[in-house]
């Protein structure tokens, strides 16, 4: 167990999340292994997104939301209110369901976060070019960096958002259903991109697309509602779980019978 924790990029212990009186998530334990893709699946409303948001403290933005338990990242507990949230979010990036480039030029989309974290104009440009190249967008946008990011297609916008997160060179990137607002072709491009990121970063992805989870996940966690709150009912190697889930709800869900 101790050895496992050392390999883990993030270790979650006894995590509970409450919105007012409602317990969205109870007693979640999970080790997220380094440089692998961990997929979180399960029906809507069982706390997957809440769990994801707690990993980079975006739960702070939700009024009335309380997080209990431990999230260990680089030997420090993130749920500690004194933890430096801004540098944490630089190390644990996030990509959302709906592409959300800032409604400004493509270049500004990189400059705003990079300048904020202390990079020079020159470094901003280098990192922007590198990140855009990584997501395969450089060829497509290199001649219109000063144009608005909103003019890009949905798939391009989502790749821009991934590049924007990558430019900060994070350890972990959290994906909250990154393909569900995209058409099938754009979705496939983004999915391939996520797979290619595995060498560089640790990926945690929430997805409702079980076929996608089967294709890309190394680790799988199935969330389910128990006693009125979300929790993880099954977790481990993705191949094994897809083959023979031990939890009956997980079995039904993964076979497409329920949820």
């Amino acid at each position: 167990m101790a050895q496992e924790s050392e390999l883990a990029a993030i270790s979650v212990r006894n995590l509970s999340i409450q919105y007012g009186d409602f317990a969205a998530l109870q007693n979640v334990n999970l080790d997220i292994p380094r440089n692998q893709i961990s997929a979180l699946v399960g029906p809507s409303g069982c706390g997957k997104s809440s769990f994801l948001n707690s990993l980079n403290r975006l739960t702070d933005l939700i009024p009335g939301c309380r997080v209990k338990g431990e999230v260990i990242f680089q030997t420090q507990n993130l749920t500690d209110s004194k933890h430096d949230v801004l540098s944490l979010r630089r190390q644990i990036g996030m990509v959302f369901q709906k592409p959300n480039p800032f409604p400004q030029s493509i270049r500004r989309n990189f400059e705003i976060p990079l300048r904020e974290h202390g990079f020079s104009k020159k470094e901003c440009r280098d990192r922007m070019v590198e990140a855009l190249t990584q997501v395969g967008l450089w060829e497509e946008v290199s001649d219109r960096l000063e144009k608005g990011a909103a003019n890009l297609s949905g798939g391009q916008q989502q790749r821009l958002c991934i590049a924007r997160a990558l430019a900060l060179e994070p350890e972990v990137i959290l994906f909250d259903e990154p393909c569900s607002a995209l058409d099938p072709i754009a979705s496939a491009v983004v999915e391939d991109l996520i797979v290619s990121l595995r060498e560089r970063v640790t990926v945690v992805i929430v997805t409702h697309n079980l076929a996608q989870a089967r294709r890309i996940a190394d680790q799988l966690s199935v969330f389910w509602v128990r006693d009125g709150s979300g929790t993880i009912v099954e977790s481990g190697d993705a191949g094994e779980i897809f083959q023979s889930p031990s939890d009956p709800d997980a079995l039904n869900y993964l076979c497409g019978a329920r949820g």
């Binding site: 933005l61 801004l86 959302f96 409604p103 030029s105 705003i112 904020e116 909103a150 997160a165 900060l168």
Partner: protein, 283 residues
Amino acid sequence: MFRHRNDRGLKWLLSGVALICGSLVIGIVGFLLVEAWPVFSSGQIFAFFSDGAWQPGSDREPQFGITPMLLASLAVTLLATALAVPPGILAAIFQIYYSPKWLATFQDRAMELLAGVPSIIFGFWGLTVIVPIINQIRPPGQSLLAGGIVLGLMILPTVSLTTRAALQAIDRSLVYGGAALGLSRPRQIFSIALPAARSGILSGCMLAMTRAIGETMAVVMVCGNIAKIPHSIFDPVRPVTSTIALEMGYATEGHRSLLYAAGFVLVVLTGFLLLLRRREPVL
């Protein structure tokens, strides 16, 4: 599309109401033009901008220059805008990003109340509070500055309420996106939220300016009403609106047409201000 009878009926009703509202504007401008027609047909309109002084009632040598008054209107409006826009925007930012909920609600009510205070009250307050203070710095007190301060206070709620609405209307996903990149709150506000809300904020400022340029009662009371081109903000001025209000009561035929023409010029000026509100290119 309009297959159902009640839907078709509603369409006609709404079209009718919209038509009436739209044609009211045309009707009012048309009325101004008809009343001011003698000024245009006699060529007096050119004297508006070429004569140095405003003495329309003089028997010997009448002069019809409204340039000092137009400049006064513009100067008072610009000063009021310059005074009201920064605090209006900052107050809205505080309200949305930093204020506790009870204080935000209080601020809303206070701004709505401020917007509802009759302009005569603002004028009265300006005359008894602001003017004596300015008088101590540089007499006479009734001045361009007094007008700018009082008007600025009157348009402050317009700026603040429209800015708040524009900031609230920006996509929440931008706020989350900014936070997820580790941006501090000031950076989120000034680099993301304000640019995203820019066109709404600009519209609010233009709305405030058009209100300021058309305001009459308060400026009559605090501006001093001397139709000369001001050389400093402490000089008394007389905006176009004041002139119309002060002289309409006793104006005879030719003079009356002049005042209507001055009003028409003011409407054209407001129209120009609204044209300045160009459509932002979609980024």
